[in-house]
């Protein structure tokens, strides 16, 4: 395995940053997230980031095009986007799985989202294997391997004092070859990840939910939800957006921004009717989407077991407990 001592990681990232925009997980006093590498930063190799990496491909607010009305016609101009080749370093298996979910949404079923695709196509993914689960992790229950991220170009292992790199794609090989002089060849076996605090049995859940739209469980599950968007905005897979405009006189621009199915205005129609009038319908939609609708459309769950929603929900909503309730519910 190609290894580098942790004390020389900064040197590797600094070298890579001459060829790529390199994004790394960084923990500040207030929050942890992926930020562009610059000299002096400390990469956080412990645990996952509070903010998921989804905004790298799918920013919270993104300008789409500008327009100007000219008489009876309109000029439309796209925003020129200068997308550099980029490397995301230190992304965990759960977040790699979320990128797979986002790829399915934005790139398959007959439509490719240009905004997403331009950034996604220029990205190399260097995944970092976990060493121990956080209190709220349950990726293992969803069939993920915290040591092997699917879709990664390179898999990195934390070997204690050093990091081991294994290329998984030709692009990954190329990247490692490029910086070969920084690595030392060492025989190493990564440690297993054990001791998950949370578990979820998802077998049969989508099929069961297909019959539970009108089940009383939603009254109970939704009761304590406050209807905020912390879960959705911290979720690495939630991808709903709204398109809005900024118009001044005869010109303006359109932009899209994250939206959240917990918000009352999410389904509010012109004229005021709302087909999801209360939090019961909204909460039901959230869990139906994650555990049934997405499975039906794309063949996988829209949850990766990262546990961010469990860690940050103001009222302790816990998707693993809800899965358990669904499992026990009589239909």
């Amino acid at each position: 395995m190609k290894t580098i001592v942790k004390s020389r990681l900064a040197e590797l990232l600094q070298t890579m940053a001459q060829d790529f925009r390199v994004l790394v997980p960084v923990k500040s006093e207030t929050v942890s997230q992926f930020v562009p590498w610059q000299e002096g930063l400390t990469v956080n190799l412990e645990g996952n980031t509070v903010l998921p990496p989804k905004d790298i491909f799918f920013p919270q607010t993104e300008k789409m095009y500008k327009f100007k009305v000219k008489g009876s016609s309109v000029d439309i101009e796209e925003f020129a986007e200068d997308v550099q080749k980029q490397v995301i370093f230190g992304i965990r298996s759960c977040d790699m799985q979320s990128i797979d979910c986002l790829d399915k949404v934005f790139l398959t079923k007959g439509y490719e989202d240009t905004f997403y695709k331009t950034k996604r196509d220029k990205t190399l993914l260097v995944a970092l294997a976990c060493t121990k689960p956080q209190d709220t992790c349950f990726c293992e229950s969803l069939g993920l391997n915290p040591l092997e991220a699917s879709g990664a170009d390179i898999q990195v292992y934390d070997l204690g004092d050093a990091l081991g790199f294994v290329a998984k794609t030709p692009e990954g090989e190329e990247l490692l070859a490029k910086y070969a002089s920084l690595f030392t060849e060492v025989n190493a076996v990564p440690q297993k990840v054990e001791g998950f605090n949370l578990k979820a049995e998802v077998a049969g859940i989508p099929e069961k939910l297909a019959k539970m739209f009108d089940h009383p469980i939603w009254d109970e599950v939704s009761q304590k939800c406050l209807g905020c968007g912390a879960c959705a905005y911290l979720c690495p897979t939630c991808h709903c957006f709204d398109i809005s405009g900024n118009v001044k006189a005869d010109q303006g621009y359109k932009f899209r921004c994250w939206d959240c199915c917990m918000f009352s205005e999410y389904t509010r129609m012109a004229g005021g009717h709302n087909p999801r009038p209360s939090k019961k319908e909204r909460v039901r939609n959230r869990f139906m989407h994650k555990l049934y609708y997405f499975q039906e459309r794309y063949g996988q769950l829209l949850c990766t077991g990262c546990g961010r929603c469990i860690a940050k929900c103001p009222v302790g909503m816990d998707i693993t407990a809800i899965i358990e309730k669904i499992k026990e519910a009589e239909v």
């Binding site: 009761q223 304590k224 406050l226 968007g229 911290l234 302790g316």
Partner: protein, 295 residues
């Protein structure tokens, strides 16, 4: 099981089985030892879920607004701060006193769940910052007080130091400080949705027409949103600190709320919100003796 939990369950059982109330709002234990989320109990056999420990952060008064059409009486457990929220909601005619059975639980001060992350159950955990400046740990309104009142803590909390630091800054420095804080806001509205002072039927931030708050996440919209909220809850904030606790981006929201509360106290005299049901909030009524410095 601690004695507090035993007393809670005893009273809840009695209230439900005698039919005095049809619903009990309390706290329970979930999958994480350092979280005690809200629980809604309507069946006697479920009272065993109730607990009280140092992680019972949620202000259950917030849920009373969801339950205005609930038939029957509701029992609600309240700490000191939570009880002030009850008074505030009563003053705003959001809830009816006769529909409530308020159970006061004098609060010893809670622990910081963020500090417990990754630790083993029973490990040493920091006190919660929001409880450090609490002047009212004992409920101010109740039908039953479940145990002895607790002494008031008078230590200076970090938020006080932060306000002093902000006060000593030049306006430009202060602006730069808050710019940095608000630039982090992801607009999840956890602060608003957990806040018992936020009791508008429709929040201005949710209105589509007029579109007061744009949906784009940028500094200008974020500042507008947070400043509007701070001014709107001014004089009605009961300083429970829930907004700051639930903010996933760790924005020091209580520094604004406490600062505004202090300014109001300087202008209108001591008027902590929700202490006295008969005393209207200073910005909620008119008095001929009000200062008119701006005139």
């Amino acid at each position: 099981m601690n004695q507090h939990t035993v007393k809670m369950r005893e009273l809840a059982r009695e209230l439900l089985s005698s039919g005095q109330v049809s619903l009990v709002l309390g706290w329970e234990k979930g999958n994480l030892w350092y979280k005690s989320p809200p629980v809604f109990i309507s069946r006697v056999e479920d009272v065993e879920k109730l607990i009280f420990d140092e992680f019972c952060h949620n202000n259950l008064a917030k849920y009373l607004m969801d339950l205005v059409h609930h038939s029957g009486k509701i029992a609600v457990f309240v700490k000191g701060c939570d009880s002030r929220a009850i008074n505030r909601l009563l003053q705003d005619n959001q809830i009816k006193r006769e529909k409530l059975y308020i159970i006061g639980v004098p609060c010893p001060g809670l622990k910081d769940p963020d500090d417990a992350v990754g630790k083993k159950q029973g490990a040493e955990v920091k006190n919660s910052a929001k409880c450090a400046t609490c002047s009212y740990p004992n409920p101010v309104v109740y039908d039953a007080l479940l145990w002895e009142t607790v002494p008031v803590n008078t230590t200076k909390a970090p938020v006080e130091e932060l306000i002093a630091k902000l006060d000593s800054m030049t306006p430009d420095e202060r602006y730069a400080y808050w710019t940095e804080q608000f630039s982090r806001c992801i607009r999840c509205f956890a602060c608003r949705n957990v806040c018992p002072a936020c009791n508008c039927r429709e929040c201005c931030f949710d209105q589509a027409e007029p579109d007061w708050l744009g949906k784009a996440n940028n500094l200008s919209e974020n500042q507008f949103m947070q400043m509007t909220r701070a001014m709107h809850v001014a004089g009605r904030c009961i300083e429970c600190g829930e907004c700051e606790r639930v903010c996933p981006m760790n924005i020091p929201l209580m520094a604004i709320n406490k600062k505004v509360a202090r300014d109001i106290a300087e202008l209108f005299g001591e008027c902590a919100a929700g202490l006295d049901l008969e005393k209207r909030p200073p910005l909620g009524h008119f008095d001929l003796n009000d200062p008119e410095k701006f005139m």
